[in-house]
């Protein structure tokens, strides 16, 4: 049995998968996980998974590569994959899962998925991202809502402004804040933050259908249409309400401006909540989480996931399948997401331990996934399109935001860039 033929290997994989799904860990395996959850709360969150895997008798080999956006980790992963020795699992998300699947590196999780009934607890938009050619190859860890707006209510009070719910009200509030000497919008001028703001405005201006046509289907009519022009025009207005120090600023520094009351609002995903919690602020009174103006009832999702790589050793395959099962277990979903600030991916999760921002996000997540409309993949976070296309969109959006390009030129360049990168 030292040398296993390919056919044989497949059989043993299936056998091991079945064994794994029944949670009878007869053989202890090792699971090596490549991730970049290295900051305080994230590291705590992932160590929970480590303990759970180890309590099932397997060994956990941590392979953490620091560096926020995961670029370093992905470079390491490529080197390992090319040398024929990929880790058991890696933090890969969105369309990149499909690219790795196309290259033939990923292992199927269908047995675990069937035994655990994943199709029943995950909304189809989420499970579609996790599947390659119809089989599960990755397991979702959490869901982030991107279209949030974080508000410092005392700053708004000082300026005599109210919390905006439409784009028009947003500019009114911003004007009042500006008049009161408060920076209206805390913004970090980095390409992905520009794109995050841009996509929230696009969702607000054109609604979820327009959003999907533009950023998922890359429909040229939607990319060049009046809604896109309006999006660019509204996006330009943001620049009137940010401070001069914003270029290059990290998102958490911008959040700190809202925390200190120097700025009134920030457009950022729910990872910003961790900063507010760390500053001992409580939601609803010290800070408010409201949907981005005009996007109430819609949900831009950003899902972190762990993709599984094909393994040769049967014991390791079993460990891998066990880990996949544990990741979607309600216990892990609860502890991980309480630490990370995101919401659980299971629709049947008990939300009692979560704060009101998370509960509100979960309600919208459930409503939109049941009704089938309003749940859209985030373009700015690599959920809707390949990194090549989203990178091309980033370039246009950030160039537009930092120059005096006209909205017409912005629309034209965006459509061209998307077509060229496809």
């Amino acid at each position: 049995m030292t040398r296993i033929s390919l056919k044989h290997a497949k059989k043993t994989v299936i056998a091991a998968a079945l064994a794994g799904s029944m949670a009878t860990s007869a053989v202890a395996g090792e699971v090596e996980v490549l991730h970049w959850w290295t900051s305080g709360g994230e590291a705590r969150a992932i160590s929970v998974l480590k303990e759970m895997v180890e309590s099932e008798g397997h060994t956990w080999k941590d392979f953490a590569v620091a560096g926020g956006g995961g670029e370093n980790a992905m470079t390491v992963l490529r080197a390992r994959a090319v040398s024929g020795n990929p880790p058991a699992s890696a933090q890969i998300k969105g369309l990149e899962i499909q690219e790795w699947g196309d290259l033939g590196f990923l292992a199927t999780l269908d047995n675990v998925a069937r035994a655990e009934g994943w199709d029943n607890v995950l909304p189809p938009v989420v499970s579609d991202v996790m599947k390659h050619e119809g089989s599960y190859v990755a397991v979702p860890v959490n869901v982030h809502r991107v279209n949030w707006m974080w508000v410092n209510p005392s700053a708004l009070q000082r300026a005599g402004a109210s919390v905006p719910t439409t784009m028009a009200e947003l500019w009114e509030t911003a004007e009042k804040l500006k008049a009161a000497g408060i920076t209206p919008i805390a913004h970090g001028g980095q390409a992905w933050q520009d794109a995050t703001t841009f996509e929230s405005i696009a969702l607000s201006v054109g609604g979820p259908e327009f959003f999907e046509r533009a950023f998922v289907e890359h429909d040229q009519a939607a990319l060049t249409g009046p809604d896109m022009l309006k999006t660019f025009e509204e996006f330009r207005k943001v620049r009137n309400y940010i401070d001069a120090g914003s270029p290059g600023r990290d998102w958490n520094i911008a959040t700190a401006m809202v925390i200190r009351g120097e700025a009134g609002m920030q457009f950022m995903g729910d990872w910003a909540k961790g900063e507010f919690s760390a500053a001992n602020m409580s939601p609803g009174s010290d800070y408010l989480c409201v949907p981005f103006p005009g996007t109430d009832g819609t949900f831009t999702f950003n899902i972190d996931s762990l993709a599984m790589f094909s393994q040769r050793n049967t014991a390791n395959v079993e460990a891998q399948q066990t880990m996949a099962r544990l990741v979607l277990s309600p216990e892990f979903q609860e502890t991980f997401n309480l630490n990370k600030g995101s919401i659980p991916v299971r629709l049947d999760q008990n939300m009692a331990p979560f704060d009101e921002c998370a509960v509100s996000a979960m309600n919208t997540f459930q409503e939109t996934s049941q009704s089938g409309s309003g749940l859209v993949p985030s373009m700015a976070h690599g959920m809707s399109t390949t990194s090549a296309v989203s990178g091309a969109i980033f370039d246009v959006v950030t160039t537009y935001f930092n120059s005096n390009m006209s909205a017409q030129d912005g629309v034209r360049q965006l459509a061209n860039a998307v077509r060229a990168a496809q």
């Binding site: 990149e96 690219e99 001069a244 914003s246 990194s387 090549a388 160039t399 930092n402 120059s403």
Partner: protein, 312 residues
């Protein structure tokens, strides 16, 4: 006697020849043996990978290398990309200003330090010290200094100069010049050290002769000393040119290529397309263009310099 002599001599010569030939052979082999591992490593990891990159630039590799050849497609896409054109234009501005200013400041500082002043050693160390910092550190420090809300501008305003404005780092039209400022700050001390060594190497007797002939110090410098520093200019230029073309960490730490893409450089473009955006083919093509840029500058330069030396 003859027999004994011959036997003695043969044994002597054989012993000697064996001894000598072994030593000679060792002596001739040792340098090759010592050099061969580095030669091999260089051949594989420099030239081998250059060739691999060249091959990849003709394939449609995305997140991993693949060998479906697509001809010049990547180069066509590269030059149709507006961001690449911005990066190339920035490199032109940056490389020209960086090299020119470094050479001028370095030469001036070297000449001033060469005036037999006191505490020369201490001053030389102070000017050379920025070279000891990595570009990441330089970039981060200058990012704070140039930030209009915490740095120089705020400092001048707090001193009472209310109208003082220096916001190049957040201005898309000027951000590339802030990269030049930081790079010059870092590298001109090094150029100064090169020139200082060159100045000390100029033959004293020629200068003395010129002084006896009544030449002014300015004439001595412009007519005699600076022209004789030609080889130093050559090596300084080569060092600075390749620092400029491969510039990556400084711009990334200082401006992150921004605001927008206004201070983007080819090295940043190459890294992002190859490793973040899953477009390894286009990334490889941009790397080849950067290599060709260096070759296009260096080959004519090397050719003319080396020929001049031979003629001398």
């Amino acid at each position: 006697m003859t027999q004994s002599l011959s036997s003695k001599s043969t044994s002597g010569t054989t012993r000697r020849t064996r001894h000598v030939s072994l030593g000679d052979r060792l002596a001739s082999w040792i340098p090759k043996l010592v050099v061969s591992p580095t030669l091999l490593i260089t051949l594989i990891f420099v030239y081998g990978f250059v060739i691999w990159t060249a091959v990849l630039s003709f394939t449609n590799s995305r997140i991993l290398p693949r060998y479906d050849f697509v001809g010049w497609d990547n180069y066509v896409r590269l030059f149709a990309n507006e961001r690449w054109m911005v990066a190339l234009k920035n490199l032109g501005v940056y490389a020209f200003l960086f090299i020119a200013i470094c050479l001028i400041i370095g030469l001036l500082m070297a000449i001033l330090l060469d005036q037999r002043i006191r505490a020369e050693g201490a001053l030389r160390t102070i000017y050379l010290y920025p070279m000891a910092l990595s570009f990441i550190v330089t970039g981060t420090v200058w990012k704070w200094m140039l930030n209009p809300q915490v740095g120089l501008e705020q400092f001048m305003i707090s001193l009472g100069w209310e109208s003082f404005r220096f916001d190049w780092i957040v201005n898309p039209d000027f951000s590339i010049y802030t990269v030049v400022i930081a790079a010059v700050w870092q590298s001109s001390g090094f150029v100064m050290a090169l020139f200082l060594a060159g100045l000390r190497g100029v033959d004293d007797s020629i200068i003395k002769a010129a002084q006896i002939d009544g030449a002014s110090p300015i004439t001595i410098y412009t007519r005699i000393i600076i022209p004789s520093l030609r080889p130093v200019f050559f090596s300084a230029f080569i060092m600075l040119a390749h620092i400029a073309i491969k510039s990556f960490d400084l711009a990334l730490a200082l401006t992150g290529g921004g605001p927008g893409i206004s201070s983007d450089l080819p090295a940043i473009f190459m890294f992002q397309f190859s490793f973040n955006r899953g477009q390894m083919g286009i990334g490889a093509a941009s790397a080849m263009i950067m290599l060709l840029g260096i070759v296009a500058i260096l080959v004519p330069f090397l050719y003319s310099e080396l020929r001049v030396k031979k003629d001398d």
